[in-house]
Amino acid sequence: MATLEIKDLHVSVETEAGDKEILRGVDLTLNSGETHAIMGPNGSGKSTLAYSIAGHPKYTITSGTVTLDGEDVLAMGVDERAQAGLFLAMQYPVEVPGVTVSNFLRTAKTAIDGEAPKLRTWIKEVKEAMGQLRMDPVFAERNVNEGFSGGEKKRHEILQMELLKPKMAILDETDSGLDVDALKVVSEGVNRVKENSEVGVMLITHYTRILRYIEPDHVHVFINGRVAESGGPELADRLENEGYDRYQGAQV
């Protein structure tokens, strides 16, 4: 049982006009086995939250804490956070020219486990996971994300989640840009990881449609850099009908 605890997190980015505060006191607790949906309008700071937890150097933490089982995540390097069991499926996965998917996956697995996986079983595992995500085997020899379509990039992110078996996974708009079939395939992937492990999932999304496939235990409405309201799955339905106007009106 693991716990990711975010307390009063304030984050800013450097802009030409000076530092700009984006997260204004985020509080969230995510336990193993739980799925939390984070929903909010464009620009509300959802990706900023995800990147800050993963340690992207662009974001400056001005105050607050993030801990994983009491360990200070903010003091860890980017690689150490992943080794500690955090995983971020990115909204815009990065292309890495000249590095093949298979080399990348093996290197990542080795880094996370602290030892190289047994070759035979590893190859089988990768093949199987790719098959389930309906990824053509040729992707293994393609360069990481290079020339991948939006949907292929998202599948590749979930493939990594399946293989790296994190304690806590943050999925940043994994659903956006997917057609219905792809959405199903990707959701099944996430659900497999949930069944086979104790993973805690933070599911960032604009739309409720993915929540039909991946059921959240908790729903948080993210507005203007903080959680404006939290509730159960019924909150998602209300957002579907009413949108964010209610919250945004209140904020002016």
Binding site: D79, R81, A82, V99
Partner: protein, 394 residues
């Protein structure tokens, strides 16, 4: 963690190929030393080069005694008697094109001559190991390589140690032959090397020139090619890695003077450290008679740290419209920290992630080189360069 946190970084500045004021065809070539003045750095061809550090190599001077050791590992039948100036095939392919080359030529009374007999195929690479015996010691070297018709061979010139080294290499690729010439510049930090490698590619012949420049204070290499008939295929490849204080300059000139030939020029380099400087100038001339030819040239540079500078200049002159293809691409980009972040967010350490990105950058040209004898030491050398850098930054 020492991620660089400045603004995003991939700024490919694709450059438009320029047509030079003067046709490349009109560039002077001559065996007469007096025809080439000592460069001042204001000349078009020398404007990137730190000529003030090359006085030793511009002087009309004989080779210092014991300044160099040559060791030739070639089959007995391939090693021919040395060639004096004016004795063919010496001088039939290479005519000096600048001051560095002409003084080297004039001061090389004997040229090493290797000829792969007609129809011979050598599975093992032929090697010429050249070791400079001291910084600033002058060496003039002239090597003639000939591939007999329908022969197949790989010849490696390996430069190590230190010297002020003037190296002319002329390469004659016979009809239907398949010749790969590899030149490794693995000099010590204080070596200087001016090189002119000229090749003539025979009818239906295949020629590959692979330049790998890692060491040396200044390396300036001209790799030139023209054709003796239709159907020739020339590939000029280069890989370089410049550290602080190094100047690595690669120039190529493909003279499409025959119909139905092909050329592919690909140079890729990485730079790290203050004042690391690389230059690539790729000239291609498609003459009126070069109908149906296909040419492509590409240069990419990866800048790993501030203060390094990569110049990249493609020049394409086209005198006939009747060609299969002619293209070029050139770009210089900063090391992309987003790639580093992506890899590290999967648990990969920063050192390993950097190595993966840089190896990835070179991956396609390494695949094109495809010669294990070159690729393996090259990858090791690149890893070593990066390890140095990471230690340096820590």
């Amino acid at each position: 963690m020492t991620l660089v946190t400045d603004k995003p970084h991939n700024d490919p500045q694709t450059q438009v190929a320029t047509i030079p004021d003067k046709s490349r065809a009109e560039r002077l070539t001559s065996f007469e030393v007096e025809d080439f003045a000592v460069p001042t750095g204001r000349e078009e061809e020398w404007r990137f080069t730190p000529v003030d550090r090359l006085a030793g190599l511009f002087s009309d001077t004989a080779t210092d005694a014991d300044a160099v050791s040559f060791s030739t590992k070639v089959p007995e039948e391939a090693l021919q008697a040395a060639l004096a100036a004016g004795v063919a095939p010496r001088g039939t392919v290479l005519v000096p094109g600048d001051r560095g080359s002409v003084v080297g030529s004039a001061n090389s009374p004997e040229a090493t001559y290797i000829k792969v007999p007609n129809d011979a195929e050598y599975a093992e690479p032929l090697r010429v190991d050249i070791t400079g015996n001291g910084a600033g010691r002058r060496v003039n070297s002239h090597i003639v390589l000939e591939a007999g018709s329908h022969s197949k061979a790989l010849i490696i010139l390996d430069h190590t140690g230190s010297a002020d080294f003037s190296g002319n290499v002329e390469i004659k690729v016979g009809d239907g032959a398949d010749l790969t010439v590899v030149t490794l510049q693995r000099w010590a930090d204080d070596a200087n090397h001016l090189a002119q490698h000229d090749a003539v590619v025979g009818r239906d012949a295949t020629y590959k020139h692979i330049a790998v420049s890692l060491g040396g204070s200044i390396v300036r290499m001209n790799s030139n090619v023209r054709y003796a008939g239709p159907g020739g295929d020339a590939t000029l490849l280069g890989v370089y890695f410049a550290d602080a204080g190094q100047h690595l300059e690669h120039r190529s000139f493909v003279d499409h003077n025959a119909p139905q030939c092909k050329s592919l020029v690909t140079y890729k380099g990485a730079l790290q450290g203050e004042t690391a400087h690389t230059v690539w100038v790729g000239d291609v001339l498609i003459r009126a008679e070069a109908e149906g030819i296909d040419t492509y040239e590409l240069n990419r540079n990866l800048v790993l740290s501030d203060g390094a500078r990569a110049d990249s200049v493609p020049n394409l002159e086209i005198e006939t419209g009747d060609i299969a293809g002619a293209g070029h691409a050139s770009s210089t980009g900063r090391f992309d920290d987003e790639q580093l972040f992506y890899l590290m967010s999967r648990g990969v350490s920063e050192d390993e992630a950097r190595r993966m990105v840089v190896r990835g950058f070179f991956a396609d040209i390494i695949a094109k080189i495809g010669v294990a004898e070159v690729v393996d030491p090259l990858m090791e050398a690149i890893d070593a360069e990066l390890a140095l850098d990471m230690k340096g930054e820590a």
